[in-house]
Amino acid sequence: MKLVGAGAATAVVTTLTLATLSAQGRGGAPPNAPPPTARTAALFDITGYWVSLVTEDWRYRQFTPATGDYVAVPVNPQGKKVADSWDPAKDEAAGEQCKAYGAAGLMRMPTRLHITWQDDNTLKLETDAGTQTRTFPFGKTSGGAGTLQGTSLASWDQPRAIFASPIPNRGGPQVRGGSLKVVTTNMKPGYLRKNGVPYSVNAVMTEYFDRLDVPGGESLLVVTTEIVDPEYLTTPYWTSPHFKRVEANGWHPTTCTAR
């Protein structure tokens, strides 16, 4: 009986292995077909105009808070020291009035977004607040190291396990839809809040853009954001600014202001 059981188990394992190997050979792009571009592989349509809904941290975002007001930002003592010495006049004199409009602060500005495909593998995100442009290339990092908007790398992200199920067709169906994931590094130091709460050149920002369509209502774009900055933050800084899809009218480019 034991022998029969062991044999059966072996057969199952063999079958599974073969099935797995066989499964690995199926699917994918047909031979000689061009690889899909990021645009054709898009999980959702992110393009168009979006306006920020400033419903959280309202006072900090609609008005410039007082020096040293860094409530709820996990700044470390070094970060506090920098924030406490914020001097907008000094920024203006140095031509650095856009320090709050860098990638790590930009998305929480009251702003409109205009998102387009720059090419088949690069998304472009423009803001009318501060008239900034971010680019999200897929498969390779963007240029821009050392600039306010830094270097970004984009990908389409779907919930999935690290390993495929060992049993074919038993790993569950693939989730439809997903997120645009953007990892941004090499940013020129800037401000998380307009009152000089800092992030450093070592900050790494990971963003997930999710389009949420309210049944019978509006389309929302929620940007779940994690900023890790070993220089100025004690823990990751998590925010999720959100935007509402709108028409083009209302686009109102402005220059950066330091105050």
């Binding site: 999980l43 959702f44 306006v51 920020s52 809904l53 400033v54 419903t55 959280e56 941290d57 309202w58 006072r59 609609q62 008005f63 808070p65 007082a66 409530v71 709820a72 930002v73 996990p74 500005m109 009251p110 702003t111 409109r112 009318d128 607040a129 992200d157 779907q158 919930p159 569950g172 169906p173 693939q174 989730v175 439809r176 839809g177 997903g178 997120s179 997930y208 999710d210 949420l212 369509d213 309210v214 049944p215 209502g217 509006e218 929302l220 929620v222 779940t224 994690e226 800084y237 998590w238 925010t239 999720s240 600014p241 959100h242 509402k244 109102h252």
Partner: protein, 628 residues
């Protein structure tokens, strides 16, 4: 002892959440299986909220009069500005739980788990437990419909979910009135919420979209972030018992500020060196360019926001009409053998058992045949008693028909009556062929004055505080509420079932009728509401427990009664203050003293308008002219 009580609370909460939600039993029906939904995304586990956004509000507490970024309409703004945080010292507010949109932002940890059918492993529900207030949400995933408009509301509401793309999308209805922010920024019981749960590894984002036609001009969107915790947080209990916090306070005191009299209005703006009312403008404050649009506003313009805009017509109710108006009678089981019947122009209550049915109020009478048929399905025995909570036609309109369909077997053949019972008992209808109708004696007087048919008029009356009966295994008490809606109001308390029938003393569809011509008064109405509150108990965190059946509107508990009581007291106090200042009725009406409640209860047409209510309050408060 405390821990035992807390444990009991949790058990009750876990059981009660399902009962309160009024959900239909889970079934593996074809329709449930056909619910379009993507593959499940696991949100089970322990979650800790990050407070990097709105950290001050969600932790230590929000600042007074900071409503920036909320699309409040005029009613919402005035409601918030009238709010005095001392209101939570009132006994019936002390244990108020958080409504879902606020609960999801509250401090404290969360735990989520799946409930699967043990036989087919289909996902039945996702449970979400909030540490603070022991907030237990059930998100039904089995395709069941939302309850009807007349079903109870809860702090968590009734939620259903489905998977769309990479999100769990949840729709919540049947919420109680509560806060969007802990400084009194209101959310009404008409709000509905759409949520999106999206998981990115160990980071969960919950985006809430609140639509509230009563207090908001457009949906309110906020997003909450949580990180997954690998270890049980523990401390999931949050017991609450109310107690005396201010001793000796009169029962008709509700802390609030009259319009334009908010003493701390400048505190927020001065602290942060901002223009006075910059956080009170509603939706414009959410959008880019706001700072520029308000920079030229004058102080006088800001001060004007503290009061209703003069010269505008009163707003009208934006609430869902809870009357089905489909020509049918709908039965809502309340508890044990007590049911609420909806559809005949006013809520009817039926208690059944091995004695005859005990009915409270008979509706307008337009659908009596269907009411009788519905009762016949609930009770093998005929209607034996009908109690009327007042003489008004939506309470007594079906008396004759329902009475004729019943009989009172306790009289014929008794020692006292062995022939011609009508003549001997003095009842207006023959108990052999008619149910006995019970009410306060003034109901009978008013109906006889109005030349009502004999068989519609209560023949079994009482005069003073209480009438009691033991029937169908319950102790039923009628308490007289003198000079409330009329001079003949009763509330009917089923003690064992723990159900109070309030009649039109509680009318969740409009301001209370104060029928001054027939002996009603605003102070009597407030006393009656407080009498109800003196008899209610909550099951858990300010909800459940004693059910209160309003004359119109959804099945309530003490939370709806206390919010309604607060409203009547606040409006009375505002009118009283203007009378004291010498205002005429026209001036009182022009002041729009109900502006923060009109989008919930107001009407400009129909049998009971906002103007009629204000006039009734004014007349019942204004001292009678001196006579020589």
């Amino acid at each position: 002892m405390k821990s035992l009580r807390a444990l009991l609370c949790v058990c009750i909460a876990a059981t009660g959440a399902t009962l309160l939600a009024q959900g239909q039993p889970a079934t593996a029906s074809a329709s449930a299986a056909d619910v379009p939904s993507g593959p499940a995304i696991d949100i089970s586990g322990y979650w800790t909220p990050t407070m990097n956004e709105d950290g001050m509000e969600r932790g230590p507490g929000s600042e007074l009069h900071d409503y920036g970024g909320f699309p409040l309409n005029e009613a919402g703004r005035l409601w918030a500005l009238s709010y005095d945080p001392s209101r939570v010292t009132l006994r019936h507010h002390q244990c108020d739980a958080y409504v879902t949109p606020y609960q999801m932002r509250a401090t404290g940890n969360f735990r989520a788990w799946e409930e699967r059918d043990p036989h087919n492993q289909r996902l039945v529900a996702i449970h979400w437990w909030a540490q603070v207030t022991e907030g237990h949400r059930v998100i039904w995933m089995d395709g069941r419909p939302h309850p009807p408009a007349w079903a109870p509301h809860t702090f968590r509401g009734f939620s259903t979910g489905k998977y769309v793309g990479n999100a769990l999308v949840v729709t919540t209805t049947h919420l109680k009135q509560g806060w969007l922010r802990r400084n009194g920024t209101p959310e009404s019981d008409q709000a509905t919420v759409t949520e999106f749960f999206v998981r990115h590894g160990d980071h969960l984002t919950n985006t809430t979209v609140v639509s509230d036609p009563v207090f908001l001009t457009e949906p309110m969107v906020r997003s909450n972030d949580y990180y997954r915790a690998p270890v049980d947080h523990g401390t999931w209990l949050y017991a609450c018992d109310d107690s005396e916090q201010i001793v000796g306070r009169a029962p008709d005191v509700v802390p609030h500020y009259d319009f334009g009299k908010q003493p701390y209005a400048r505190e927020y703006s001065e602290r942060h060196k901002l223009p006075l009312g910059v956080a009170w403008t509603g939706a414009p404050s959410m959008y880019p360019g706001y700072a520029d649009t308000v920079k030229n506003m004058t102080d006088a313009q800001w001060v004007a926001l503290l009061s209703p805009t003069p010269g505008r017509p009163n707003e009208t109710s934006k609430a869902v009409d809870p009357e089905p108006r489909d020509g049918e009678i709908h039965v809502l089981p309340i508890r044990e053998n007590v049911y609420m019947l909806v559809g005949d122009g006013g809520n009817i209550v039926v208690q059944t058992g091995d004695q005859g049915a005990f009915v409270v109020d008979s509706g307008t009478g337009r659908l009596s045949e269907k009411v009788i048929a519905a009762i016949a399905k609930l009770s093998e025995r005929p209607i034996q008693f009908i109690a009327n909570t007042s003489f008004l036609p939506d309470r007594t309109g079906g008396n004759a028909n329902l009475g004729a369909a019943g009989m009172d077997p306790s009289l014929p053949g008794s020692f006292f009556v062995n022939s011609a019972p009508r003549a001997v008992t003095g009842l207006f209808a023959d108990p052999l062929r008619h149910a006995t109708i019970i009410a306060h004696n003034n109901v009978t007087n008013r109906m006889q004055d109005a030349k009502a048919a004999d068989d519609a008029v209560p023949g079994d009356t009482y005069l003073e505080e209480r009438r009691r009966k033991s029937h169908n295994g319950d102790s039923i008490e009628l308490f007289y509420e003198p000079s409330a809606v009329t001079d003949g109001d009763s509330i009917v308390f089923f003690r064992r079932a723990d159900v109070i029938v309030a009649g039109n003393i509680v009318d969740l569809t409009r301001y209370p009728i104060i029928d001054a011509k027939n002996g009603g008064s605003v102070d009597g109405e407030i006393k009656a509401l407080n009498d109800i509150l003196n008899r209610t108990n909550y099951e858990h965190e300010g909800e459940g427990g004693t059910y209160v059946v309003p004359g119109h509107g959804f099945l309530a508990d003490e939370h709806e009664v206390v919010e309604y009581r607060d409203m009547v007291v606040i409006v009375r106090d505002r009118v009283k203050a203007m009378i004291a200042a010498g205002a005429t009725l026209a001036q009182v009406k022009a002041a729009r003293l109900t502006a923060d409640y009109d989008t919930r209860y107001g009407a400009n047409t129909g049998p009971w308008t906002t103007d009629m209510f204000v006039e009734a309050v004014y007349n019942s408060l204004k001292p009678a002219p001196k006579t020589n």
